[in-house]
């Protein structure tokens, strides 16, 4: 199947594709950010933002738009001691790779920008660049708390990248392809000894590993040691203000969307509605299938981001050494075990 963003003119296709990704990149994180404000508020017996609204709709729906308008008017402060270029470029380095991942994520039948052969590999490699942005921010700030936070962040991101990669490798074994579209389509057919189900069932460890590791990759609670406010102020973001700080925040919320989208595609059957069947997509015209698929995928993504927010309200922060041990002694062996299980099942079943 071709991408729905394909037109006869190559240049026009390219422009539409880029605009689609940029538009999604700026809208979806705002929705997730608003949800975090409201959900976290209600979980802590507060109301969250109530005033800012768009037109007659209140309940704080315009809060993040207002925040953005304010951020763009803020003074741009670079500390006198900072390494100017490294400091200035760090938010961009953190932001752009997250946008690049959206190129390969399928949001519905035909609703993807490119179906790269190396899909999952490309996505994971691009998320790995986040480490460089964090190290640049921490080093460039010339602040000892920033540097400490950046070193913690780097150690955490590389430690949790391994479970993320290994869990994805187990999915690749089962699907037999690296393409994300291929992985979703592989979940349409009954695979597990004739019983129809998505990859989440035979790979329940993999699913939990991938989701936990993506929380750590985003430095979200309970893995927010790199930006632990009670000991190192705000980690690598301590010296950042105004627009540069806003870009870091945007990168975090966009990262939540992207990693939830990858979890959805790898384990939760992507755009499929009912396990084991392509119904109702095989009976709908293409435009309706694309629309429904997009809705179903976004529903799954928002459900996962809701759980991420829920975790933030629930769990206390892990200590640095607990955090490292949790990854090396528990998550990584479990991920290798998952690969062995899926490999054996694959050989036995065929």
């Amino acid at each position: 199947m071709e991408s729905i963003f394909t037109f006869e003119s190559l240049a026009f296709t390219l422009v539409v594709k880029v605009l689609a990704v940029v538009a999604f990149f700026f809208v979806a994180p705002l929705v997730v950010g608003y949800m975090e404000h409201k959900v976290l508020g209600h979980m802590q017996a507060r109301l969250g933002p109530m005033e800012a609204g768009i037109g007659p709709i209140k309940h704080g729906v315009g809060q993040l738009v207002a925040d953005g308008a304010k951020f763009i008017q803020k003074e741009d402060i670079t500390p006198a001691a900072a390494d100017k270029w490294v400091f200035a470029l760090a938010p961009g380095v953190a932001l752009v790779p997250v946008m690049a991942v959206l190129v390969v994520v399928p949001f519905g039948p035909g609703v993807w920008v490119e179906n790269l052969d190396a899909g999952i590999f490309f996505a994971l490699a691009a998320t790995g660049v986040a480490v460089i942005g964090i190290l640049m921010a921490g080093w460039g700030s010339a602040n000892k708390y920033s540097l400490m936070g950046a070193l913690r962040g780097a150690a955490q991101l590389i430690a949790y990248e391994l479970p993320l990669f290994l869990a994805a490798a187990a999915v690749v074994i089962q699907a037999g392809t690296l393409s994300l579209v291929g992985i979703v389509e592989a979940q349409a057919e009954p695979w597990f000894f004739g019983i129809p189900m998505w990859f989440v069932v035979p790979q329940i460890f993999g699913f939990m590993l991938f989701f936990t590791a993506s929380l750590a990759e985003l430095s979200r609670p309970p893995f927010d040691m790199p930006i632990a406010d009670s000991e190192i102020i705000f980690g690598h973001m301590t010296e950042y203000t105004g627009l540069r700080y806003a870009l870091f925040m945007l990168a975090e919320y966009a990262g939540m969307v992207v990693l939830s989208a990858l979890t959805t595609v790898l384990f939760l059957g992507g755009w499929y509605l009912v396990p084991g069947t392509t119904w109702p997509y095989d009976q709908l015209p293409q435009w309706a299938a694309a629309l429904l698929g997009f809705g179903v995928t976004m529903g799954k993504i928002f459900a996962l981001t809701f759980v991420m927010v829920w975790f933030r309200a629930t769990f206390p922060r892990l200590r640095e050494d607990q955090l490292q041990r949790f990854s090396w002694l528990f998550l990584i062996p479990l991920a290798i075990l998952q690969i062995v299980i899926v490999g054996i099942l694959k050989v036995v079943a065929s």
């Binding site: 594709k17 880029v18 990704v21 940029v22 008017q73 803020k74 003074e75 741009d76 402060i77 670079t78 001691a81 938010p91 752009v96 946008m99 690049a100 190129v103 920008v113 490119e114 790269l116 590999f121 080093w139 700030s141 010339a142 602040n143 000892k144 708390y145 540097l147 400490m148 070193l151 780097a154 150690a155 590389i158 990248e161 391994l162 990669f165 290994l166 490798a169 187990a170 690749v172 074994i173 037999g176 392809t177 690296l178 102020i233 010296e239 105004g242 627009l243 870009l247 050494d321 041990r325 090396w328 002694l329 990584i332 290798i336 690969i339 062995v340 490999g343 694959k346 050989v347 065929s350």
Partner: protein
């Protein structure tokens, strides 16, 4: 240009668009922001106290061991991916392919108890 590379054209275009978006945001910011800088505002932030020592103070990078371990495991992970793609299509060689990978994974996993015994994962 073949179709294979056309897909990567979009990736490149998107990277360019990303840089453009960041540039536009900062240009808008430049037009709209106040600019009144003075000493205290530009000093390093340490919870309101005057900064002690230089910014790049000596830090014990206790995490360098994890970086070493990461390199070992990351290479191993890269090695798994091509194997994972072709396992399903290997036909009669499937059992052999699986066996070889199990031996490989066994030896790689052995590094974890070794590192644990060496005390690498304990806090110093």
């Amino acid at each position: 240009m073949s179709e294979y590379y056309q897909a990567y054209q979009t990736v490149l275009a998107l990277l360019a668009a990303g840089i453009l978006v960041v540039a536009v945001a900062f240009t808008l910011n430049r037009l709209m922001r106040p600019d009144k800088k003075y000493g205290g505002k530009l000093s390093t932030y340490e919870c309101g106290i005057d900064p002690v020592g230089a910014g790049w103070s000596q830090t014990h990078i206790r995490y360098y061991m994890f970086a070493f371990m990461f390199v070992v495991f990351d290479v191993e992970t890269l090695f798994i991916f091509p194997w994972a793609v072709h396992l399903g299509a290997a036909g009669e060689y499937q059992g052999f392919m699986l066996g070889v990978m199990l031996v490989f994974l066994f030896f790689v996993t052995l590094t974890l108890p070794y590192e644990y015994k060496k005390g690498v994962l304990k806090w110093v």
